[in-house]
């Protein structure tokens, strides 16, 4: 009987501690990659409004891709900026929580904060960012938290760079 009581106590104690273990944050993920241009930092998954306001000076042109069925909610929008473009998703025009889905570097006039630009060697990318989480003949991908930095490759050279939101 004493053994039973002892067992009960230890189990209760263990559970007692579990309550404080409930909301300890997951071990810190390495910070997600972000792109910056003209002092404005942006990351896929962020709200689009503040970033677009900050970049208003470059008068981004926007283009909307409506879905085939007009009733379907949501549309993708692309904002073209010097050397790169931002693709977002929103419910409708002026939607407050329009979200950045994709940042695409289109030419070598811009580079990633870590200094890699279009035309760089695949090996240069690996030297800068280390082992990729996904490597194929056509691409190198570095996944961090809820986003992914992808380098498109043709004949070992970087042809496009994009920051993507993980679905």
């Amino acid at each position: 009987m004493k053994k039973f009581a002892a067992l009960l106590l230890t189990v209760a104690a263990l559970m007692g501690f579990s309550s404080c273990g409930e909301d300890n944050p997951g071990n810190g993920e390495a910070a997600a990659y972000s792109f910056s241009f003209d002092g404005v930092e942006m990351r896929p998954g962020d709200k689009a409004a503040p970033v677009l306001e900050a970049l208003a000076g470059h008068s981004p042109q926007s283009s909307v891709k409506a879905s085939c069925l007009s009733g379907l909610s949501g549309e993708d929008v692309t904002y073209v900026l010097p050397g790169f473009r931002i693709q977002t998703f929103r419910q409708q025009e002026g939607d407050a929580d329009e979200q950045i889905r994709l940042i695409i570097l289109s030419d070598d006039s811009v580079a990633t904060p870590e200094g890699v630009a279009i035309g760089a060697e695949a090996q240069a990318v690996k030297d800068t960012y280390g082992a990729p989480s996904e490597e194929t003949e056509f691409r190198l991908a570095y996944t961090r938290g809820s986003m992914r930095l992808v380098f498109g490759l043709r004949e070992g050279k970087v042809t496009n760079i994009s920051y993507e939101v993980l679905e």
Partner: protein
């Protein structure tokens, strides 16, 4: 396989047709076949767990039965023995049988504990060992229910209240009977066995009553509970404070009532289609005037299970009797006689909470219920003096309604722990009811909770219909009266089906309404 899914209805129809075609004595084969088909649909990987529990309790039961037989014949063969020696031998045999019982219980409850509580306990250990990886354990369908039912069987066999079942297939049906596997009621072997294997000729009236009960269960579940659940989910996700918490209490009461009693109505109704009568699990619970009475009307079979197999044995077992003697000797008569019962009650409610879920909110939920019962028990003398002071008022209906309302709100408050599933957050939200009671804002924002005005209308109508049915059915449930008038019943059922199909919350856009108690 959900109750409100097409495959279930197909399985049920096929089983019914086959059931009434077979000769009377072989009809239970259909039930066994349907039960295992139903269980397989939930996932073949779960099968091994239910087979394990069935085997453990079947074999332990047989062993206990044989051992009891052997002890009795040995004792009789030994002829006349002095009282002392006979008593000692009986005690020795009983202890040996007790060890077999404990072996069976440990194996049975052990599996439940491992599958259900490892994650919970390990998350506690994780506070010390952060790198500990908690394995993802799958929780077999209805494990809490069929484990309790088979363990109850073992204790009944040990106590001699039930004869062990020799035929493994019959016993397998007792454990896995498909209507009640998902969320009970937790039946006793003595009650269910004669029903399952009795001779059930087709009786029109009982069949119609069962059908009416099934449709009524679907109505409560799909029209009321699932609609209210949409708003509850928004309230919980956004953790809205103040008057929203009161709204959540009211809505979640409608959800849990519609979902659980509706589910049990479907279970008992379906079982009645086969002529198998199951124990009632509810008796107009929201009419109860005290927490103690509430727990005699809500989830009755679980309450009696914990009382018969946990509370009483605990309060009269050896160590508790020694404690009772010691406490009465040292702490005086009043506290002395209360201590053992308090301890037994607290442990019982701790386990009841734990049974509901592997989480602190469930345990706190259990202990709070225990606290309410103990406090109202202690205030009994105070309450009698108040009753003596104003007898006419206390006997009046208004007072009765006030008590029922008070109990309803209190139980709703405690039950909201189920929704938030986080104890500190729940207490903070309870506090917010007093600090910022923003009922104006809440009333204005009703459509923002995911329900259109039309849905709110359906919800209100549904609750009113339930309230009316419960009032009309005070003396005799409506379905019994209706089952005696087939044409009227047919009209009601058709109308019911149409209402469910039109106003039910099901299909795309609503995630399939799985039963709250189905996840235990």
């Amino acid at each position: 396989m959900q109750f409100n899914s097409i495959p279930f209805l197909l399985l049920l129809t096929a089983a019914l047709v086959l059931y009434y075609c077979l000769p009377l004595r072989r009809r239970w084969y259909v039930l066994l076949g349907a039960s295992y088909l139903y269980y397989l649909a939930a996932g073949a990987e779960y099968l091994v767990f239910i087979l394990y529990t069935t085997a453990v309790s079947y074999l332990t039961g047989l062993w206990l039965g044989r051992r009891a037989m052997r002890d009795a014949t040995a004792l009789a063969a030994a002829g006349e023995l002095p009282r002392e020696e006979r008593r000692a031998r009986q005690a020795k045999d009983r202890r040996a049988r007790f060890r077999i019982l404990v072996g069976g219980l440990v194996l049975g409850f052990g599996m439940l504990a491992v599958l259900k509580y490892t994650g919970f306990v390990l998350s506690g250990v994780q506070a010390f060992v952060p790198t500990l990886r908690i394995p993802e354990l799958l929780l077999p369908l209805g494990i809490s229910f069929y484990t309790f039912q088979s363990m109850g069987y073992l204790i009944d066999v040990y106590r001699g209240k039930a004869q062990p079942e020799r035929n493994p297939f019959r016993f397998a049906l007792f454990v896995s009977y498909f209507p009640q596997i998902l969320q009970g009621p937790i039946s006793r072997f003595g009650d269910l066995e004669p029903q399952l294997f009795g001779e059930h000729r087709f009786q029109g009236e009982r069949f119609r009553a069962g059908l009416a009960r099934v449709v009524w269960g679907y109505f409560k579940k799909m029209v009321v509970a699932d609609t209210a659940m949409i708003a509850v989910r928004t309230l919980v996700e956004q953790e809205l404070t103040g008057a929203y918490v009161v709204l959540l209490i009211l809505l979640y009461s409608a959800v849990i009532y519609g979902d659980f009693t509706g589910g049990i109505d479907i279970t008992i109704g379906v079982s009645e289609l086969f002529g198998v009568r199951l124990k009632e699990n509810f008796d107009r619970p929201f009419a109860s005037r005290s927490v103690k009475e509430y727990w005699r009307r809500w989830h009755i079979t679980m309450g009696t299970w914990f009382t018969d197999y946990v509370f009483y044995p605990l309060s009269v077992c050896g160590p508790m009797q020694r404690l009772s003697k010691w406490s009465r000797a040292h702490l005086g008569a009043a506290l002395g006689k209360r201590l053992p019962v308090y301890i037994a009650t607290i442990v019982t409610w701790f386990l009841t909470g734990l049974w509901h879920g592997a989480g602190w909110n469930f345990i706190v939920w259990g202990l709070l219920n225990c606290l309410c019962i103990q406090v109202s028990q202690e205030l009994q003398p105070l309450w009698r003096r108040w009753q003596a002071a104003a007898p006419r008022l206390c006997a009046s209906r208004i007072w009765g309604c006030w008590q029922a309302l008070r109990t309803f709100l209190l139980m709703g408050l405690i039950r909201s722990l189920d929704c938030y599933r986080n104890v500190p957050l729940t207490f903070r939200l309870w506090g917010s009811i007093l600090t910022d009671f923003n009922w104006g804002q809440m009333l204005g924002d009703l459509t923002g909770l995911g329900l259109t005005p039309a849905d709110w209308g359906v919800l209100a109508a549904g609750v009113l219909v339930q309230f009316a049915a419960s009032l009309l059915g005070k003396r005799e449930p409506l379905r019994e009266r209706l089952s005696r008038r087939p044409v009227l019943l047919c009209a009601c059922l058709t109308l019911g089906v149409i209402v469910i199909l039109l106003f039910g919350s099901y299909g795309i856009g609503y995630d399939a309404g799985d039963f709250i108690y189905g996840q235990f």
